[in-house]
């Protein structure tokens, strides 16, 4: 698909020389605008501060791993370590690819076509993100596993006694894909919103059909958003523990957990986790190469208009079927199984008295973490997009450090510094929020960066020339234009914080129950029915931010769905 880029560029140049996309690195018809100014302190200082924070888990791991002796290296360089690392790499890449293959059409259909119920699909498509990984895996096993609901349903009429094995690679791949495609979906949808439709119109004028236009002009412009989302999906995959355990795929996180759970060996666990950090950095370097250095904003004068909807015609039926299948598998299936468990145990009618408080706690930490993380992500994203300095590149990479790590590692890192050096803050909400920030920052950075890329820096410069301060220009011009992406990032953080477990369990104030911990408690005592209620509330609450995102945004952003 991407090999078609040169044509896209040519079309663009021919069609509208003053508003071209410079897709590709060496082919730009117009020299790329480089910001000559050094980053102002108002951007640089907070960005460095945030980067320093995100290094806490790595620093902790280095301290722990340095306690190991020479046999540590012997253990690390076993054949088995390499094997599970390769397993994890395969899973990460295939999950990222499959997520993109689902999410890009889904985002395009819900934003740019006359698909019936676009807003509805757009609202519920990101919701699988909020289903805790182990709950999702449990429900998949219950439905598709041996002796699961599907097999039961098929056994009667068709005599099916065995389904294809769900355990192992395919099961883990399917489950992780179903629960991570929203990363790509949110990122691509935000980018699609901010896209100037003039190029697509030009392609249509030149006689290309809707599909060709999509592949020749739309898709290449979405590349940074797809890659940013795919990177999040890949990093989520390498840090996940719940899915790979329940679906029995021999992934790297299992090695780390075995060290904590079976041998209580924090040193070896730390050394293994550092390998995972190295792997995440490798993925980042790969992403940077794929991302390229093209400019994606509108270069000419005038403002972007909103896009015309593509009429689907008879294609609306396969399109609807596609949306239905994805949502049924990723949301309908887990919710259906949870609902079944809930109904089955309803007659026990124990009042779930703590659920209101738990819901309130979940919303509190989710919203606080979303606000703080988004705020922290802005200087990092600005530094990366506007001032392409070496320091910016490093700050961005460092900000991903905590993201490829299993949650327990980040949690223990903050236990370590919290209990030892920040005693008054330990087990309080502020430190909990900071730990969430470190864990989920890349989600907000990736989303903000994707949108900032679409804002022409000249607009900001114009504001500066008209007398705005650097901060004022960013605030009054850049941020409003980049809002779709920033909002998507905030929603992403909200959803993932709501379901987070290890950090919440270890760092929240003692006795602070959330919906996710309620799910965990009930599932842990084997009462799946009881676990279903908080899990369903979790999904319901999560629909609020995604509904807002799927709706209209105020002001200057080009609107796609009308």
């Amino acid at each position: 698909m991407l090999t078609l880029r040169p044509r896209a560029a040519r079309i663009a140049v021919v069609a509208r020389p003053d508003s071209s996309i410079e897709a590709g690195q060496r082919r730009s018809a117009i020299p790329r605008r480089r910001s000559v100014s050094r980053p102002p302190w108002i951007v640089l200082l907070p960005a460095l501060l945030v980067a320093g924070l995100t290094l806490v888990p790595v620093a902790y791991l280095l301290i722990r791993a340095s306690e190991g002796g020479s046999d540590l290296w012997r253990l690390l360089w076993r054949e088995r370590t390499a094997q599970v690392l390769i397993n994890t790499a395969i899973l990460a890449v295939t999950v990222a690819a499959a997520s993109s293959a689902i999410a890009v059409p889904l985002a395009w259909l819900t934003l740019r076509t006359d698909l019936p119920g676009r807003r509805f699909w757009a609202t519920i498509a990101p919701l699988p993100l909020v289903i805790p990984s182990f709950v999702g895996a449990l429900t998949i096993v219950a439905a598709l596993g041996p002796r699961g609901f599907l097999q039961e349903a098929l056994e009667g009429p068709f005599g099916v006694e065995r389904l294809p094995e769900i355990y192992g690679f395919w099961g883990a791949w399917l489950t992780l894909t179903l629960f991570t495609y929203p990363y790509v979906f949110l990122s691509v949808r935000a980018a699609l919103r901010g896209l100037d439709p003039s190029l697509e119109e030009a392609a249509r004028c030149l006689g290309h059909g809707a599909w060709r236009t999509f592949f020749l002009t739309t898709l290449p412009q979405l590349r940074p958003a797809v890659i940013a989302g795919a990177l999040l999906a890949a990093l989520y995959t390498i840090s996940d523990f719940g899915v790979v355990t329940l679906l029995r795929y021999d992934a790297f996180t299992r090695e780390i957990y075995v060290q904590y759970r079976a041998s209580f060996d924090r040193t070896l666990a730390a050394a293994l986790a550092l390998l995972l950090v190295a792997f995440a950095i490798l993925l980042l370097a790969f992403e940077a190469r794929m991302r390229g250095r093209a400019a994606y904003h509108r270069l000419g004068s005038g403002a972007a208009r909103r896009a015309r909807l593509v009429p689907l015609g008879v294609w609306r039926y396969p399109a609807l079927a596609f949306c239905l299948v994805i949502v049924a598998l990723s949301l309908g299936l887990p919710l259906g199984v949870l609902g079944y468990w809930l109904i089955r145990t309803l007659r026990r009618d124990e009042a779930p008295e703590g659920l209101l408080i738990a819901a309130q706690h979940s919303i509190t930490v989710g919203a606080a973490a979303a606000a703080v993380t988004t705020l922290a992500a802005l200087p990092v994203a600005l530094l990366v997009v506007r001032y392409r300095t070496r320091i910016g590149r490093w700050v961005e990479r460092v900000s991903y450090a905590g993201y490829g790590l299993p949650g327990i590692v980040v949690a223990l890192a903050f236990v370590f510094i919290g209990a030892r050096y920040l005693t008054p803050l330990y087990q309080t909400l502020p430190l909990l929020i900071i730990a969430y920030l470190v864990r989920f920052l890349p989600q907000a950075v990736a989303a903000a960066r994707g949108s900032l890329l679409q804002v022409n820096p000249r607009l900001e410069e114009a504001a500066r020339n008209l007398g705005r301060s650097p901060f004022g220009a960013i605030r009054s011009v850049t941020l409003p234009l980049a809002w779709p992406g920033i909002g998507a990032g905030a929603a992403l953080v909200f959803l993932t914080v709501m379901k987070e477990l290890p950090i919440t369990l270890l760092l929240s104030p003692t006795g602070y129950k959330t919906l996710a911990t309620s799910v965990w408690t009930s599932a842990g005592s084997g009462s799946y029915g009881e676990a279903a209620a908080p899990a369903l509330i979790l999904v319901l609450i999560s629909a609020i931010p995604t509904l807002l995102l799927a709706g209209r945004h105020g002001g200057q952003t080009p609107r796609g769905d009308e």
Binding site: R261, S263, F264, A419, T510, G511, T521, G526
Partner: protein
């Protein structure tokens, strides 16, 4: 938006306990103070919940104790409340995964807020003991429990026990059909009829015991024999018991108490029962949950009161009646259906020997079970 649901709206007729009339009027009268009202209500309800019914000792007057619990809140939350009401000590509990809480205590170092660690299994307590994080318990506490179920250095003590059993479907099988040893399950007549949960921690400690008793090769042979019988894999004990009840499988390797929990939910006619193997069989391994007091505890006295409470009449009865576990203190009867501990005669194993979980995981991986 959400805040309104929790706020003290003017329409709410009753006054929450613990809020004075004036305070309440002021809060409910002030429009726009929804959030403040919300916080006040929460504080008020928390205070109301924390206060025991009139006549009891007021909680908090006797100090407090901070507990890190690897045991599930649904199982032991009520017992903690009973302790608070009986002693007036305010118990703050942090729930989590047993191993992760052990790692947390180690990372916290000398500043650990925890006074007491209540672990799901002996292994995690052993890890803390190894790093010298636990104090020696007084003999008055230790001697309540059989030496099999406590630390040999006296730094932790078991509070309740659970036995491995074979749960079976009573419509398909009778006691007479069942094997006297777990080792006999490799017989081909059990093909396709066994359920197990290889990822479950209790199963894994059984395999560790098997390695201790039968040797590495013997354990491997058993695992391969079961695999050849095409066992149905589950993700946990309760799923196995449910499947046995539903007749999907005939027998399952589980901890004894899941059956009783599920029977409470499903009704007395749930067609499943527990089978104990012959006395001394490794299949009857008895594991314990236990407690240890931290060296850095700032409320060591209250922590010891908690241990004493768990091992006292009330605590042990709670385990027998509410969690269906084995009480470990002499003189407290286990639930009616349980084979008494001294009759089970689990294998002669020091629970301290079950620390080599890593070797077990390796074996399970090699055989292809994990």
């Amino acid at each position: 938006m959400m805040a309104e649901q929790f706020s003290l709206g003017g329409s709410r007729p009753e006054r929450p306990m613990g809020v004075s009339r004036r305070q309440f009027m002021r809060l409910s009268g002030a429009a726009g103070l929804a959030l403040a009202g919300n916080v006040a209500l929460r504080r008020a309800t928390t205070a109301a919940q924390a206060t025991p019914p009139a006549g009891g000792t007021p909680v908090g007057s006797a100090g407090k104790v901070t507990i890190y619990s690897g045991r599930n809140e649904n199982l032991i939350g009520d017992l903690v409340t009973q302790f608070e009401q009986a002693t007036g000590i305010d118990a703050e509990v942090r729930y989590g995964d047993t191993a992760e809480l052990a790692a947390t205590i180690l990372e916290e170092g000398d500043n650990s807020p925890a006074d007491l660690f209540w672990a799901q299994d002996a292994g995690a307590l052993g890890a803390l003991a190894k790093e010298e994080r636990l104090v020696t318990l007084p003999d008055s506490v230790l001697d309540l429990v059989d030496t099999r179920f406590r630390s040999s250095q006296g730094v932790w003590v078991g509070t309740s026990g659970r036995a491995r059993v074979l749960v079976y479907n009573t419509e398909q099988l009778t006691e007479a059909d069942l094997p006297t040893s777990v080792l006999d399950l490799v017989d081909s007549k059990w093909k396709g009829k066994i359920g197990w949960a290889p990822t479950n921690a209790s199963f894994q400690s059984f395999v560790t015991a098997l390695r201790v008793v039968q040797g590495e090769d013997g354990a491997r042979e058993w695992l391969e024999g079961i695999l050849a019988n095409d066992p149905v894999v589950f993700e946990g004990n309760s799923a196995i018991v449910r499947a046995v009840g539903a007749g999907e499988i005939a027998v399952g390797l589980v901890n004894h108490y899941y059956l009783y929990e599920i029977r409470e939910e499903e009704g007395e006619d749930f067609p499943a029962a527990n089978h104990f193997f012959a006395a001394g069989d490794v299949g009857n391994l008895v594991n314990v949950a236990g407690v240890g007091i931290l060296r850095t505890a700032s409320n060591a006295e209250q922590a010891q009161r908690f241990v004493e409470y768990l091992l006292g009449q009330d605590g042990q009865t709670y385990f027998a009646e509410r969690t269906f576990e084995y009480p470990l203190v002499e003189g407290i009867e286990p639930g009616a259906e349980l084979v008494p501990l001294d009759e089970i005669k689990g294998p002669e194993i020091d629970l301290g020997d079950l620390a080599d979980l890593q070797g077990t995981l390796q074996l399970l991986t090699e055989v292809g079970v994990l």
